[in-house]
Symmetry: C2
């Protein structure tokens, strides 16, 4: 027995979202069915709106509703440091720390052999356009994954040619973790990066 067509359509839409399997998609569709009409309309509209209202900052590639993002517009931030991240969500994660006060540059992904993504597919050209004498440091904060590391190394090589002071965020044991649960590579990185106390 099949679901009614319009129900199946919504289940199929939910199923295409990351981390949502068949069973969850059905549960969500049932939930939408039982919701207030006003909320359903709000949900439908906000999905349609997001692609119309949200743009990428012309300068750094971070999501924003105007031409430039709030960080690029803020003249109180250190204009001489750029932190390079994979995605906009990494900018929000870094901002939560309240330690870094420089600028960002969002790559929108990483180099990936499997997905056939090269450095040309990333938001890199606009990064090099930003690099003038005023920039004192570029912090590469891509994820410590295979793709993130590859991108970081490649970027570092390109930046070295331009004589830019480039740094990479540290790897090691996360705070609150247990050494006996850590994977070998993390422990190795943690040893390599040891500091005098």
């Amino acid at each position: 027995m099949n679901y009614p067509q319009s129900f199946q359509d919504l289940v199929d839409c939910f199923k295409r979202l990351p981390g949502i399997g068949g069973k969850s998609a059905e549960r969500l569709a049932y939930y939408i069915l039982s919701m207030d009409k006003s909320y359903v309309e709000e949900f439908s509209d906000s999905i349609k709106n997001i692609q119309e209202s949200i743009h990428y900052c012309v300068k750094c590639g971070h999501i924003c509703e105007d031409e430039f993002c709030d960080i690029c517009k803020d003249k109180n931030r250190d204009q001489d440091t750029i932190c390079v991240v994979e995605d906009s969500k990494d900018v929000f994660a870094m901002e939560k720390v309240k330690e870094y006060n420089g600028l960002y540059h969002v790559l929108h992904g990483t180099m990936s052999i499997l997905d056939g993504k090269t450095i040309e597919d990333l938001n890199v050209n606009s990064l090099f356009e930003r690099l003038d004498d005023s920039i004192k440091e570029v912090i590469i904060a891509t994820n410590p994954t295979r793709e993130g590391e590859t991108t970081a190394l490649y970027l570092a090589k390109l930046l070295a040619k331009r004589n830019i002071n480039t740094t990479r965020i540290a790897n090691g044991l996360p705070i609150g973790s247990n050494i006996d649960y850590a994977d070998e590579l993390t422990l190795l990185k943690s040893l390599e990066g040891r500091k005098k106390i």
Copy 2:
């Protein structure tokens, strides 16, 4: 630092869905942002459509796109047996078994003291309207939870007054499970319901 408003709106909408927390809602909103425009429109429309196209069958309460559902319309099904379930999704689950060929009745919930839901809040009146001399058996297939059992017992009492042959689906160990992992209540029900082999 806050998300742009239209982004935050979508995150809030996703967060109201069951089983989706703050982090997942953000991830889904990012995903929607990166999707093809055509898919985003399809998703938005299917959410809006579902409440307009999907109705509840006038006879049994199951979801359908017409006045009556496919099961109620099918004259080849046994017209003398009604299986009472909590939700439409239980109908689809039962249909997958391909063993039952009778009719259904969907209650749209259970009695629940915590949520202040009584028998009056369920789709029960239309069930009693369906009970004439042609009905030989009513199978109560509410979930084996506290609320489901309460509803089953209450319904059974009401049906007894009408001299209807009422049955309840069996409890016991699920196939493929281990006795030493079973909870005590399930094991007790499994013992109580033992059969001669």
